[in-house]
């Protein structure tokens, strides 16, 4: 069984930042492996260690700089990686769900995985929709927000728990092949070992362009246009306790006594 894990490098923003047009000024940004994808990689690698899966392949839409993040996934146990990028993608302000799916669909068609494990969402644009949209595009089954996955060797059905709201889980059987979006907490993602990091340097990282994949440039232009970005206005009238830690703790202690919740 082959598992494909779409891995995204996301942007994280400093506590203080400035907005430049419809983007945050680069000085305030750092890059990281998307938290949800970390759990998806771990799930795939654990399935491989359990003998259920033979090969774990990652796919990333990103420029050369994302290779560091891709190597992280390889160091954690993925066997090989595909990176998709070309100039047409450089121009896109907001890569929407349809655009991501157009690219990933062609990778799924080329790789023919039995299972695709995506993260539930990404920490930057938070669309939370790529996995399900991809499943529909490639004509497989799916399940969103999976926090438990039971899959036996050679099985054609995956038994999953989907995490609903309010402490409730749904128990569902999904026919394979399928796309599952993986929720945080499903497992405990490993740190890459030094040996893993060394081995990752020797693993295959295959760069593909849109043309290589047969994806038209228009397909990644997207349906959504990002028109503005701003800091949300705070509507609260928060009382801020100022001073040293002793001062602020004193003020908070007084408040808690006033409210009658602490003595």
């Amino acid at each position: 069984m082959k598992v494909l894990v779409p891995v995204k490098e996301v942007v994280t923003v400093d506590d203080a930042f400035e907005i430049d047009g419809t983007a945050i000024d680069e000085r305030y940004l750092s890059a990281d492996l998307n938290e949800w994808d970390d759990y998806a990689i771990e799930e795939a690698v654990q399935l491989q260690e359990d003998g259920v899966v033979d090969e774990v392949v990652t796919v990333t839409i990103g420029d050369e700089d994302t290779e560091q993040t891709i190597r992280q996934a390889l160091a954690k146990g993925a066997d090989r990686a595909i990176r998709v990028w070309d100039d047409a993608l450089e121009e896109v302000d907001l890569l929407d769900v349809g655009a991501k799916v157009a690219i990933l669909e062609s990778v799924v068609e080329a790789e023919e995985p039995d299972l695709v494990l995506t993260g539930v969402q990404s920490g930057d644009d938070s669309f939370g929709a790529t996995g399900v949209a991809l499943a529909e595009a490639v004509g497989t089954q799916w399940a969103a927000v999976v926090n438990q996955l039971d899959l036996d060797n050679g099985a054609d059905v995956a038994s999953v728990h989907r995490e609903l709201e309010g402490g409730m889980e749904e128990l569902t059987d999904v026919d394979l092949p399928a796309v599952l979006s993986i929720q945080t907490g499903i497992n405990e993602p490993r740190y890459a070992s030094l040996r893993g990091i060394r081995m990752a340097q020797r693993k295959e990282l295959d760069h593909q362009t849109l043309a290589d994949l047969g994806v038209e440039t228009e397909a990644v232009a997207g349906d959504l246009e990002l028109t503005s970005m701003y800091e949300p206005e705070s509507e609260s009238d928060t009382t801020v306790f100022d001073g040293s830690a002793d001062d602020t703790a004193g003020q908070l202690a007084e408040l808690l006594r006033e409210k009658g919740v602490a003595q």
Partner: protein, 318 residues
């Protein structure tokens, strides 16, 4: 003139609040476009749900009697057929776990744009402008969608629930459900273990988040909870890491809490967390980042390092 179709959501015999919030968002859009507001309710006791959904501003309610609970294959088939049948320009659904389990498939099947987790909506001519957050709520963005139809999922609790009795026409919609295309089956539901502590009963919650850094640092928060005779809860990352059991998690997928005082320590205030604690009487946030989203709902805030403030607070009560 553009018609709006909202899709109601229910679970285990009850309509979810977001179904009525969708009606408010849908009615606002219909007002702007001059179109009609259609509502669809699929599976379960659709007639009873239809009665509840008949609120002011709703023009038509479409019931699809098929199965009992949510199944994404059934919903995807029914909704795509409804969009075609009504000729709806905008489809509004919940940005919930189930909403995200079928609406992306609907958008793909119809080959139309999808905008998720929307907190504001307006139309001007043929353009729909949606407001969304990015980077964990640090910024808001607007995105324009020029095409119709388009599928939109709205964040819960951003619109008020629709009030007022309506006089909508209720019609049974005969969706053609292809049973061979149903590739998933729901076998049941399970509640996450309750455990010995019910955080929803506490008057004072000391809640800890990612800012605590290491598991061993939790001792500091335990010490504070003991000094204050408070109950300890947490945001999601602490439970994901296995540092506290699931029954301590506050948030959309955890428990909803309404204590007299909620002290959020090292919690940034992701929307899923805020959904579980914004009903607290008084919210206190201790966080180094003055721009963290939790500050937007905090009544009192300390912009300082929790490792300095918490020991000083323990000192105040010992």
């Amino acid at each position: 003139m553009s018609d709006i179709l909202t899709i109601a959501e229910h679970r285990q015999g009850e309509l979810r609040d977001v179904s009525l919030e969708l009606l408010t968002a849908g009615a606002e859009l219909a007002e702007e476009t001059g179109g009609d507001l259609h509502v669809a309710v699929i599976s379960g006791d659709v007639d009873a749900y239809a009665e509840e959904l008949d609120r002011e501003g709703v023009d038509a309610i479409h019931t699809v009697a098929y199965g009992e609970e949510f199944n994404h294959d059934v919903y995807t088939q029914a909704v795509t057929q409804l969009v075609d049948s009504i000729g709806a320009s905008y489809v509004l659904g919940a940005n919930s776990v189930n909403g995200l389990d079928y609406l992306p498939a609907v958008a793909t099947r119809l080959d139309v744009p999808l905008v998720t987790d929307v907190v504001g909506l307006e139309t001007a001519g043929e353009t729909l402008t949606a407001t969304r957050e990015m980077y964990g709520g640090k910024v808001e963005t607007t995105v324009d969608v020029e095409e119709t139809p388009a599928v939109v999922t709205i964040r819960g609790a951003e619109w008020p629930v629709a009030e007022g009795e309506g006089s909508a026409a209720v019609e049974a919609f005969e969706a053609e459900i292809d049973e061979d295309a149903i590739g998933s089956s729901v076998n049941g539901f399970e509640e996450v273990a309750g455990g010995d502590v019910d955080i929803s009963e506490a008057d004072l919650l000391v809640s800890v988040g990612r800012g605590i850094d290491e598991e061993e640092n939790l001792e500091l928060i335990e010490e504070l909870a003991a000094a204050l005779d408070a109950t300890m809860s947490s945001s999601r990352p602490i439970v994901d890491a296995g540092w506290l059991p699931a029954n301590r998690q506050v948030g959309q997928s955890g428990k909803v809490v309404t204590p007299d005082v909620y002290i959020a320590i090292g919690i940034s205030g992701a929307v899923q967390h805020v959904a579980g604690m914004k009903g607290s009487d008084t919210i206190v946030a201790i966080n180094t980042d003055p721009n963290a989203p939790i500050m937007d709902i905090a009544d009192y805030a300390i912009h300082d390092d929790l490792f300095d403030v918490v020991p000083a607070l323990i000192e105040q009560f010992s």
